[in-house]
Amino acid sequence: MLVVIRGKGKLIKTIIQVTVLACGFLLLGACGGDPEPGVVVDGQRLAVVDMHLHAGRWEWTPPRFKERITERIPRGFKWVGEYLTNTWLSGEGIIGHLDSGGVSAGGVFALYSPHTTGNAPNAWVAEQIAVDPSRLFGFASIRVDQWNVDSREQLAAFEDALVNLDNMIGVKLAHAHQQFRFDDQRYYEIYEIAGRLGKPIYLHTATSPNPGTRIEPPYTSPAYLEQAIRLYPDTIFILGHAGWDSYRRKLTYVDACIDLAQRYPNVYMEPGALGAKRAAEVLPDFIGRIKKAGVAHKLIYGSDGPQFPGYIGSHLEAFVAAMQAAGYTVDEMRMILADNFSRVFNLPKFEL
């Protein structure tokens, strides 16, 4: 009996040791105090709003995407993926990421993308942003994968979410993830509702490295959106990722996005993931094209975070460094990093 108890004791001790090791791994990257909010440019500290953040839970994540998000975790320890996802992609987790990145506020996206990255339902996202409504702003989405069958119900639920859920300031769509064409008029009523309710739409443009995402031009090229942009002048279209072709690591659709932003007052752009390591080689070119085209007033900063601890901060650092290297003025940077967001979403300016 004593032997058995001693044996169990050793096993428990070992489990504790393994747990401590795992906790140590989890804590890596989470250490260190939070920096002062904002970024310093020419001696001035500018506020930052990150309009492109994802929330989610492990149980709403498809198997393929689970594999992708646990790629960075060593084999045998992938079981921590559930804990990490549910912690990092919660409202409280996102606030922690913003604090460690020096970011004042963020846009948190709902999404129904069962083919690729999974679901983040509107009502659940509303609960997450309620953690701090002065810093987290929601973007409602709509399920479209059975459009012939249930479009009326989905449109009604979408409108209800925009009207009745607190702090839902905009709309999130991702045609390439949600598998519907930019030029399919059956979906145009989504744009009508958003315009009528004064909720700007963030639309994922270009490709994604995530498995299952469509890469053909009708799902990725912003040129296919022009008809809708023209038909719904009261609807604001924010071209997500600003045409960054992440799958091919090229700026394939950036000029098309800039062209639309120049020609239409209801078109803006967002540079999510262009400050990531994957885009390091093309970031200076992108920043240069925005500057040369004179569309800094049409660019709303976002990162596509949180992804992993430190990402929001490193994305911001890379992006600001690139703007400084390209000779952006302080006023241009202030617009891109926070003021354009406040203007487009009718919010007060963010002060530090």
């Binding site: 050793k10 070992t14 040791q17 393994v18 090791l21 709403w60 498809p62 198997p63 060593p74 084999r75 045998g76 320890f77 992938k78 079981w79 069962p114 083919h115 999974g118 679901n119 339902p121 479209v144 994968d145 059975q146 459009w147 012939n148 069958v149 598998q179 519907f180 064409r181 030029d183 399919d184 059956r186 299952g212 053909e216 031009p217 009708p218 799902y219 040129a223 296919y224 022009e226 008809q227």
Partner: protein
């Protein structure tokens, strides 16, 4: 000197032994969890049929891209239609294709095709709207040999235009 060695040696042996056990345990746990991953099971399927276009559509030599999809995939809130399997190219008329059907990644079989009438490699542009598409639901599935005839008569339509169909 010897007395110090006598004291330190058992402590060192104990520490090394403890560390070794932790490493072995971590390794075992890692192996157990890693071994659960495996190859995707598939079953061979031979697909054939006829691709047709409406009268007046000049399809001579035009490329047809065929996409194969599961009709449905996953469960619960993640359950969704039209899950991609693979793609191949053919032309209007009789066609055949063999492929490995991933049996655990979804159910059913949809055969979607589009005709690149202007040979630009893109299924319609914002201004040129001629390329035609169609979809066939394979009814007698699962089966090792299946037939799917596809009529390409809808311009610029993705697979979601056809499936799931609207209720009558």
């Amino acid at each position: 000197m010897n007395r110090r060695l006598d004291t330190l040696l058992p402590v060192a042996i104990c520490a090394v032994s403890g560390l070794f056990k932790v490493v072995v345990m971590v390794g075992l746990v890692a192996m157990l969890l890693a071994c659960t991953e495996g190859a995707t099971p598939t079953t061979p399927v031979s697909l054939s049929g006829k691709i047709s276009v409406p009268d007046g559509v000049q399809s001579d030599g035009a490329k047809v891209t065929v996409n194969l999809y599961h009709a449905w995939a996953l469960e619960g809130p993640l359950r969704h239609p039209v899950e991609f399997i693979e793609s191949f190219e053919t032309s209007v008329g009789q066609y055949s294709h063999s492929f490995a059907y991933p049996v655990e990644q979804g159910e059913g079989l949809l055969v979607y095709a589009w005709l690149d009438l202007d040979a630009d490699g893109v299924h319609c542009t914002p201004t040129v709207r001629d390329d035609r598409a169609g979809l066939s639901v394979v009814q007698e599935f699962p089966a090792a040999e299946v037939t799917a005839d596809i009529r390409l008569d809808v311009p610029c339509a993705g697979p979601d235009w056809f499936y799931p169909p609207a209720p009558n």
